[in-house]
């Protein structure tokens, strides 16, 4: 793995956004060859989405030939509920950029047949040629997407019941009323994300530090599902200083020492403007 450590939330969000921008621009997507991106929700990626929107607004990046697949969505929450992941993606990303509506895929938590919806999602990913870069976050319990502790490390897109920890963590978005928090969600599996050609996990904040430690310094374990990515050939963990608080000093020093190598991935910064001219 590459462990990229930036000073704070703003810098790590920017590094991640630059990386995504370079990958898309260098891929040079077109109508015959789309770039496929897996996307997360939650507090962590907001800064990254803001930077990506800036790159679109300045003309350096276009999402016209990008297909996106979101990781998850609540079951039974109306699609226009302000806390649904559809609302999140619309308000924080889609409405600000030039992605075509038909290319933005999000699981439908109100489908009549949830199982069929999950299977169809897997097929859509396959039809799009697989995911080129899957961006994810990590829960305090070390989960990726809604693959709660105990999820199979080879799981596929399916319905999951949320862990108590997750429901408690989400209560703040539902007026702290536990009865209003959805208890089930549709989520891509650990295996689904492992199939991506490249994975980038964003981890910021001290409250995620223990999960990061479990994910990269302990063994592969289905209780900390992000640990599965120790067996993925191309994974980048982008974090801030606070997220490294539970790691060994030796680990942190080693990867900080590699920053000059990592920074070559974002500098020089590519632009679609240059390509057009």
């Amino acid at each position: 793995m590459k462990l990229v450590i930036l000073e704070d939330y703003v810098q790590s969000s920017e590094w991640a956004a630059k990386y995504i921008r370079n990958r898309i621009v260098q891929f040079n997507p077109s109508a015959d060859r789309y770039f496929t991106l897996g996307l997360p929700t939650g507090g962590t990626p907001l800064g990254c989405y803001k930077k990506l929107i800036e790159y679109y607004e300045s003309g350096d990046l276009s999402f016209k030939y990008v297909k996106t697949f979101n990781m998850d969505e609540y079951v039974g929450l109306p699609r226009d509920h302000p806390e649904s992941y559809h609302s999140y993606m619309w308000n924080n990303f889609f409405k600000h950029i030039d992605i075509e509506p038909a290319n933005a895929h999000i699981l439908d938590g109100n489908a009549a047949d949830l199982q069929a919806e999950c299977e169809a999602f897997e097929q859509e990913i396959a039809a799009a040629g697989g995911i080129g870069l899957f961006i994810g976050g990590i829960g305090p319990d070390g989960h990726i997407a809604f693959n709660e502790p105990g999820s199979s490390l080879v799981s596929r897109t399916r319905v999951k019941t949320l862990a108590k920890d997750t429901i408690l963590a989400n209560a703040r978005f539902f007026g702290n009323d536990l009865t209003k928090v959805p208890t089930m969600a549709l989520t891509v599996g650990v295996g689904t994300v492992m199939d991506a050609r490249e994975v980038m996990v964003l981890i910021t904040g001290a409250h995620k530090a223990f999960a990061l430690y479990k994910a990269i310094e302990e063994g592969v374990n289905h209780m900390w599902t992000v640990s599965a990515f120790q067996q993925h050939p191309r994974t980048i963990f982008v974090c801030d200083e606070d997220a490294t608080l539970e790691l060994r000093i030796k680990t942190v020093k080693y990867f900080k020492g590699l920053m000059h190598v990592h920074n070559r991935l974002v500098d020089p910064l590519c632009s679609m403007k240059v390509q057009r001219s």
Partner: protein, 403 residues
């Protein structure tokens, strides 16, 4: 790009680079319009996988719901109460009102003899606005069932009282109540409670004005269903600390539950002292409705003009009954009133804009589709600069005036 919109093939316009008045705040959001109504872009994106056909750059302007004037007697030489060329007069005024950001209005008839009402009312049909001018929501009948003492500029010989205390009185004078949105009356007139009830049952807004009612008479009228006060402070008893009169409705605790009393304010800097405007606004901000009460001479140069059966004299921004010091209406425009109200009250831009759009729509019970920029509302709106000057007016999403 091929269209795959599933709900409608009609073109979609996206207004970008603007600050829209939504949920009582100015927000940096785009406004989407299709078939003359405001569209929910999130539904469009996910349900229809649709996108805009063209974009309009609003150049960072404020985008607010179109203004609604519920009390306007004429303008540009037109006097709605005169009775000649009614359609032509309404058309002229409704076209020129677009320049002030007004997208809907209630042509107002002052106290007049029955033959005028019988002639004029059928020709003032309710209709939507468009490129030809602002929409007519319905007529505001200000009189003749008002107080002699507080008639202001209304002709004394045309005043009436209720003989039967029922709709019959009204139909005798007005002929018909089709096309009528608002009736202003004095609630102390005997027989008024039943009249108010009948009007409210018909869906007509009842307003109290040109009256010497005390507070308890006014409260009774509100309990019967009256919901508006015509130009607060003007043509009513002044506020007295032991009997606040109609003005006391602003803070009355005798009103039916969930009932809001709205009150018109002519914020032209002349009809009401700014301190009085502030007192009313601070006492009951959500009921304030800006009205122009504009008369024939609005938009015309200084001099002598006619209003109903009376003659008036214009002097600067003042309009007097000729030969007296009695004010007989204003010549301010709605956008001037919005600016003056904001300056005099120190309120926010949002509050000033809502006093001219949301509140009149709520008063008339039409806020489901007018007076807001909520999804599904009619796309009637104005573009304003930061000092609240109108730069462009839109009705049904189409540009109908540009500076």
């Amino acid at each position: 790009m091929p269209s795959n919109k599933s709900v409608s093939e009609e073109p979609i316009t996206q207004f970008v680079n603007c600050r829209i008045l939504k949920d009582h705040q100015l927000q940096r959001e785009d406004l989407w319009v299709r078939e003359g109504k405001i569209l929910n872009p999130e539904k469009l994106f996910f349900d229809e996988e649709g996108y805009a056909d063209h974009q309009v750059d609003c150049e960072s302007k404020i985008l607010a719901p179109g203004f609604i004037d519920v009390q306007i007697n004429g303008g540009y030489g037109v006097d709605f109460s005169q009775g000649c060329d009614v359609r032509g007069g309404v058309a002229l005024v409704s076209k020129r009102l677009l320049e002030h950001g007004v997208t809907s209005f209630c042509p107002t008839l002052v106290t007049s003899p029955p033959h005028i009402y019988h002639k004029v009312l059928p020709e003032m049909e309710v209709h939507d606005g468009g490129a030809e001018g602002a929409g007519v929501l319905g007529v505001h009948l200000e009189g003749p069932f008002i107080s002699r003492e507080k008639r202001g500029a209304h002709p004394e010989h045309c005043l009436r009282s209720f003989q039967q205390g029922s709709l019959t009185d009204l139909l005798e004078v007005y002929g018909s109540l089709d096309n009528v949105s608002i009736v202003t009356l004095a609630p102390e007139l005997p027989g008024s409670p039943t009249v108010i009830q009948e009007l409210v049952k018909m869906g007509v807004t009842v307003s109290l004005g040109h009256s010497v009612a005390d507070l308890s008479q006014a409260e009774q009228a509100v309990q019967q269903g009256a919901t508006f006060i015509t130009h607060l402070f003007n043509a009513m008893l002044p506020f007295h600390h032991r009997d606040p009169g109609i003005v006391g409705l602003l803070t009355s605790d005798q009103l039916p539950p969930n009932c809001t009393v709205f009150y018109g304010m002519i914020a032209d800097g002349i009809h009401t002292n700014p301190a009085a405007l502030r007192i009313a606004h601070r006492a009951h901000p959500s009921g304030l409705v800006l009205v122009t009460d504009a008369i024939t001479a609005m938009g015309l140069p200084p001099g002598h003009h006619t209003l109903g059966q009376q003659h008036i004299q214009i002097d600067g921004l003042h309009a007097y009954v000729a030969g007296t010091n009695t004010l007989c209406g204003s010549i301010a425009t709605m956008d001037m009133c919005v600016r003056h109200f904001r300056k005099a009250s120190g309120c926010s831009v949002e509050a000033a804009l809502e006093a001219a759009s949301l509140h009149p729509a709520q008063l008339l019970g039409i806020s489901q589709h007018k007076g807001t920029l909520d999804y599904g509302s009619d796309a009637d709106f104005v573009l304003l600069d930061d000092s609240l000057h109108v730069k462009a007016t839109y009705i049904g999403g189409e540009e109908v005036w540009r500076k």
